[in-house]
């Protein structure tokens, strides 16, 4: 009995104190609640973890700077465990229990697609951190859905455009057997005829494979003028090493998943000469000072590194863009779901983010094109922007 009483008083006082903390920050106003559904654990955790870190960091920064419209920002992060069902449950919880004004995430295309009907029915804006084109297309059926990562097809366009300039028309593609690789393969096939490219060989590998020389040998034998590898994770390093060992004599192109210094470290001198379309986050220090993204990228990357001792990577950037867009909207029009949605669609013009310079419209709920990428080559163990 006595124990129960003590526990009760402890719980009560903890609740009271935490209540104090919540209200103390910004002049007694109700906090503005934004939900986030991220793959913090599970197979897609390499996306969800930097995304979560980014949101936590931004929430603190925004609240320290006085919050939004005098109210504190509260980002309620739910872990979807990289699973569609969990993502749906998390969305229902955020919408019904927490009454959030908007949701950021999920991290993967599959989970985002699962939330499309729910968000449309709840008339609450969703800004996804996943790249798949079907998330926001067709826009007529995706009224409440937005996304910040560049389209896969934009990355492909950037690669093909660069190749054409250098007289390459026949390519061999090698993709990882995951959602990321399959989406890339689809985009590579879709754009090829439009740009006059021919895919002469198409190979695959598993996410944990340790040798891809067989696939690369086949690509070479098929007469390709260049190899395009589409993957994230250790596979892209193994492909790079094998490509180097085989002395293939044709250039290796990587997807926009290549943009981590870690990859250069792991591949060592094998990485020299590898070309990839990358968002400007990894090459911000090489941009001219006049570039609209530079200041923002510098601050984001250095803040993140100071706090977490690791790179935010492209994926942390997606969460940054998604949250900042919603915050921008709330600053302008207040915490009203309909007004936020309308602002996202019409108000986001030439807004610099980590992924590019966003211009949304009633026809485009992503707001980026191939211009969001720079073609970057690895030179002397560092990135170099190709003109």
């Amino acid at each position: 009995m006595r124990f129960g009483k003590i526990m009760l008083s402890v719980v009560m006082s903890v609740m009271f104190v935490s209540l104090l903390f919540v209200t103390a920050g910004a002049a007694g106003k109700e906090p503005i609640k934004i939900g986030a559904i991220l793959s913090v654990t599970g197979p897609a955790s390499f996306l969800g973890e930097p995304e979560k870190n980014t949101l936590v960091m931004l929430q603190d920064q925004i609240n320290k700077a006085g919050g939004i419209r005098g109210a504190n920002l509260q980002v309620i992060i739910e872990d979807s465990k990289s699973d569609e069902t969990q993502a749906v449950l998390a969305a229902k919880k955020l919408l019904e229990k927490d009454n959030v004004v908007a949701i950021v995430g999920p991290s993967t295309t599959g989970e985002s697609m699962a939330l499309v009907p729910i968000m449309n029915a709840a008339k609450t804006p969703l800004v996804s951190c996943a790249a798949g084109a079907p998330i926001t297309n067709p826009v007529s059926e995706r009224e409440w859905i937005f996304k910040t990562p560049q389209y896969d097809t934009s990355a492909v366009e950037a690669i093909y455009t660069y190749m054409k300039k250098h007289g390459i028309t026949k390519v061999g593609i090698i993709t990882i057997a995951t959602g990321f690789g399959d989406a890339g393969k689809k985009a590579l096939h879709e754009i090829a005829p439009k740009m006059g490219m021919t895919i002469v060989a198409e190979e695959k590998y598993g996410p944990k494979d340790s040798d891809m020389t067989t696939q690369l040998t086949k690509i070479k034998a098929a007469g390709a003028q260049a190899v395009i590898n589409w993957s994230v994770g250790p596979g892209q390093v193994v492909v790079t090493k094998n490509w180097h060992d085989l002395k293939m004599g044709i250039p290796l192109y990587q997807s926009h998943g290549w943009g981590s210094k870690k990859n250069i470290e792991l591949a060592g001198k094998a990485a020299e000469g590898v070309i990839a379309p990358l968002g400007r986050l990894v090459v911000w220090d090489k941009l001219s000072d006049k570039h609209p993204q530079k200041a923002l990228l510098k601050k984001f990357e250095s803040d993140y590194k100071a706090l977490y001792k690791s790179e935010p990577g492209t994926f942390g950037g997606h969460a940054y863009d998604s949250l900042m867009m919603v915050v921008e909207a709330i600053k302008k029009v207040g915490p009203d779901k309909k007004k936020i949605r309308d602002y996202l669609e019409t108000g986001i013009t030439k807004m610099p983010g980590t992924g590019g310079v966003y211009t949304m419209s009633a026809k485009d709920h992503c707001g980026l094109d191939a211009g969001a990428f720079e073609m970057v080559v690895v030179k002397n163990g560092d990135w170099e922007i190709l003109k």
């Binding site: 494979d209 340790s210 040798d211 020389t213 067989t214 086949k218 060992d245």
Partner: protein, 295 residues
């Protein structure tokens, strides 16, 4: 054309060497306890990641790092046996296999906490260009892996057939009660088998990391392929696991080369199933002997 074939073969050897080394680890514990240790893949991961830690972070010389890594892995094996297998005091093999699965999940979690989700690698044992044989290339590290695999087979063969301890371990696998009756300390045998297999796993991890990189969740894939290698060659047969490993590696590579890379896992597994249909005890196992065992 021959060059291309040779390249496929070398690729298969590279992958197969990895499977073979992992497969051997399964045999050690199986040979003395009849348990299939599902955490075997994690021992390999420990080998790769600890080696990275000692050589790249602490910056110890190569040999010292390797010895420390193997000892550390052995210690993990010891802890695993003393804290999860021994307290069970059970003869139920299925239960013990379940426990090893639980341990593997736990180890993966701990490794993730320490090392994060990034892949790691360090320089190969010998620097330099890959060897070029008739136009096809093979990494020097692959030769190291094959050499280390060969050394391990010989040492383990000598241990299991020429030493008293090794023979005692094999006796335990067949019948623990009988082994106890002739005065074998069964508890110690089981402990040593876990230490030994953890060490062999770690040696494998140290050798393959420069080829395939290592990250915290590579264990299950390595365990599945290594286990396939072990049963294809006949569980408990040292050289069986090795030949099984190379066979699967080369099959995968040839399938990827001559059929399609999307089919490689499927074809390799189908052929493995076919072999087990016709030779249930594996390529080198004897059917009569396998009937005596519980698994």
């Amino acid at each position: 054309m021959f060059t291309v074939f040779l390249q496929f073969l070398f690729s298969g050897l590279t992958v197969g060497a990895v499977y073979a080394l992992v497969g051997m680890g399964f045999n050690i514990i199986y040979n003395s306890t009849s348990i299939i240790n599902m955490a075997q893949g994690e021992f390999v991961v420990i080998g790769g990641l600890f080696m990275w830690f000692f050589s790249e972070t602490v910056k110890l010389p190569f040999f010292l790092s390797a010895i420390l890594t193997v000892l550390a892995a052995g210690f993990v094996g010891l802890l695993m046996e003393r804290f999860t297998i021994k307290p069970l005091k059970s003869n139920d093999l299925l239960l013990m296999i379940m426990v090893t699965i639980a341990v593997s999940i736990l180890m993966r979690g701990l490794l993730m906490f320490k090392f994060g989700k990034d892949p790691y690698s360090y320089a190969p044992f010998t620097e330099g260009e890959p060897l070029n044989i008739a136009g096809a290339v093979i990494q020097q590290q692959t030769l190291w892996v094959i050499g280390i695999t060969a050394c391990c087979i010989v040492l383990l063969f000598l241990f299991f057939n020429r030493t008293m301890m090794g023979k005692a371990m094999r006796a335990c696998a067949v019948d623990t009660t009988a082994a106890k009756l002739v005065g074998i300390n069964v508890s110690r045998v089981v402990m040593i088998s876990f230490i030994l297999s953890a060490m062999v796993g770690a040696i494998g991890g140290i050798a393959i990391t420069p080829i395939s990189l290592m990250e915290y969740d590579k264990g299950p894939m390595l365990a599945v392929k290594g286990f396939c290698a072990a049963i294809m060659g006949g569980l408990g047969r040292g050289r069986g696991a090795v030949i099984g490993g190379f066979a699967i590696g080369i099959l995968e590579s040839m399938t990827a080369g001559y059929i399609h890379s999307g089919m490689k896992d499927a074809v390799a597994l189908v052929i493995m199933l076919a072999i087990l249909f016709f030779r249930p005890a594996g390529l080198f196992g004897s059917v009569a002997m396998s009937k005596l065992r519980k698994f």
